[in-house]
Homo-oligomer: 254 residues x 4
């Protein structure tokens, strides 16, 4: 691979086909809009993949050449095949970065990596969301030169958010209707870095907003691992290969 | 339920049937030995369940009346049905405690809750294991009045152990053959407390040893949640039910 | 000590003397009100201590017989002597629970245990605070049988809150003026359990509110360690006392 | 500053003056040897500072132009002035990286940032240490192309290590004498990344060993924050500057 960061933007691409309101905002699909935003970074090599592609576009080859994957899904989480989820999980553990977006909180891959329900409460009323930065020095929020920023119309997600305690909580949302939500959280699983970012309801032009585009670009750069691949497997270190001299004792079931 | 702590000891119960060496050490099965150890605590109500029972003994009713579940499996992880794993995971998230023992590191339920490979390296040579206590004040190690204790013959498990960063690392093992391992680690997932405890290879009499029995009893008490059930689900808070007065705006896909 | 939980409620007791508005709400001092709330639990043995007492009421004897300490201070953090802070820190590491309340975020003991600035933004405008429960199953929020509760008039504290990533984030506040804050967070340091709880501005009757009193009672019970004392010190294990046989080699500076 | 990473290597520089054995191994001082190892990276700009320098070499100007600080001390922790420790802590919280080496576990700056005792057990017998890598994919261990590496002669450090639960545990040591230790752990405090690395007893040539030099170089690169400075302070957001329209209510103590 070149020295660029190779990003694959995965989009479910269902509501764009079935809802005129969504198509108006994202005529080429949400994944295309997200990908275009990332292409503003000259050091990213960006491609897209969708649910409708063979193997959902998540072939062994695509994953092997992806440094960071972004994932947006909503209506069709259950149409993603389990064997593809296995494959993505394996790559994350090896070191591929993962950005999970908005309704992707209930995707199979996010629930798989978290081990929890990832449940939340919600409301679609086009209300105002104000996102507060809880660590203004973090790489993911660089360029947001304010304590908070607003999204004029968004879907509300409310606590409790059924996730494990995050490694870092970077953003918390205030909603006009009275709720709060941990909107930017990070995890490490195996050697993979994971960033969940809340905004992005398909009925609103969120992915056109400059702060959102900036955070996604920062998120990709943050999630890009510079380490080597984390080796999986359960090697048997036989007694004669032990670091210290050893004489086998006792019974055996192997 | 009474004020006792209701414990269910789950055993795979395979090697006890197939290996004479195992049967000699655990004539009634490993689960029976583990259960007997826990029964030394008068405030525990202990029963057992095995892979061979209908629904592996993990019926809705059993789980609903279990405060803490202990899990030992090795040879037949894949014979545990996915729908049963779903059910156990749901109960852990609600608040049931879970003790995962030794080769249970590769059980479906542990991998499900961790989201990672749970891989490790291993060697069956009956070598000495010395378990160091890294937080001597923790409830799980009460009564171990020493910095470390030894198990004369054990299987070696070596790092890297493919787990998320633990909430607490309580024990680390030194092996005669030269390896180390995080042998006592804790997690919270949803409202469930999880304790992984390394020792317990079926070819050795580990579950007869007093320090091991003590740590299991402490572990059950620690994992027993006194909270209420964590509610699952994704409630829709409609605009007219929002805490603050709200007028719906924008498009809708719901 | 008896089987009761021994609680010491520490109060700075300054604004109660200097501000008529505070005295009206807390005629016997804030510490007396907090202590009275805790005394609703028959299994607590509660006493108080204030800044003005000899050694601030934090003598070796008091600390040695305290299971859980609660700390409220605001105007006089710097009047607490460093050697007393050393003593409290030592007891927390050994296993004494600590509840840090409201403006105690800037107390010497909290900053000492956190290692960070504990800074935040603030506003005193008597606005509404709505506290959301992010883990409804946790022991600290038992009895709050709702997703959130409100305090009619409170001081606003806003993010960024300069703390390390919490072990658990149990509550997040929504403020009428538009901010959010992590209002209930927990930590373990040494063998001590620490709970920071945000509400409690002296100009409002917050410690008279039933949800606040309930959370403080739950917090004390949660922070009460049942483990033994965590031993401090740096013991020298001489070569002849090593667990494995050893012959000293190389140079020495000791 | 240029695009290089600016590293300041701090050395206590006491035993080098008083012990012939140390001077033989580190004729120009340990700090000089550590600095030379880091200079193997062309993208680092490295300077040194010692206890004996004015303000211990930790002037406002030096700290303001330091991206990553490394800290080795042993015999004279208490000679480091508190006001200098305050200054270093402030810079770490703002985003300066910090590598704490070996006996620096008991330095004022490490204890300040951890909030705990940082105690451990120890033995100086020149025994063998084998360091196991627990996350082989992590940036800090890149180039260590093995599961573990050995140091022929080292001081033993044993658990319990009195630290908060690390963000990441990257290395665990096996000692010939029978102990174990968490030898590579990371933390984030404010916007600063902190890496504690165990080896480095002054009586042995540890800082000449290639794996140690490699890990230090990786550690510097990892700890280098690319974010902006984390702003400190407790701003008062007056009611007329609140994000949402607000009318002040209730009493006031400010």
């Amino acid at each position: 691979m070149s020295s660029k960061i190779h990003v694959t933007v995965w989009g479910e691409n269902v509501h764009e086909q079935t809802h005129e309101a969504v198509r108006k905002i994202y005529p080429k699909g949400m994944h295309a809009c997200i990908a275009d935003g990332l292409r503003e970074s000259a050091d990213f090599e960006v491609r897209t993949a969708t649910l409708q592609d063979p193997e959902h576009g998540m072939t062994e080859e695509v994953l092997a050449t992806t440094d960071v994957l972004t994932w947006w899904g909503h209506a069709a989480h259950n149409k993603v095949e389990d064997k593809i989820v296995d494959r993505i999980q394996k790559r994350v553990l090896e070191g591929m970065g993962l950005l999970v977006l908005h309704s992707g909180h209930h995707s199979k891959i996010f629930k798989r990596l978290m081990g929890t329900s990832c449940d939340l409460s919600w409301r679609e009323a086009g209300e105002k969301e104000r996102i507060w930065i809880t660590n203004p020095g973090h790489a993911i929020v660089q360029g947001i030169n304010a304590s908070s920023f607003e999204i004029e119309h968004e879907e509300m997600y409310g606590e409790p958010f059924g996730i494990p305690a995050p490694d870092e909580t970077l953003m918390i949302s205030w909603f006009q209707g009275g709720e709060v939500f941990r909107s930017g959280v990070t995890y490490t699983r195996g050697n993979g870095k994971i960033f969940y970012f809340r905004p992005g309801h398909e009925a609103y032009p969120t992915y056109h907003q400059k702060e959102v585009k900036l955070i996604l670009k920062n998120g990709v750069r943050w999630a890009h691992s510079q380490g080597r691949v984390y080796p999986g497997g359960c090697p048997n270190v036989t007694w004669d290969k032990a670091p210290e001299k050893l004489t086998p004792q006792g019974e055996s079931v192997h």
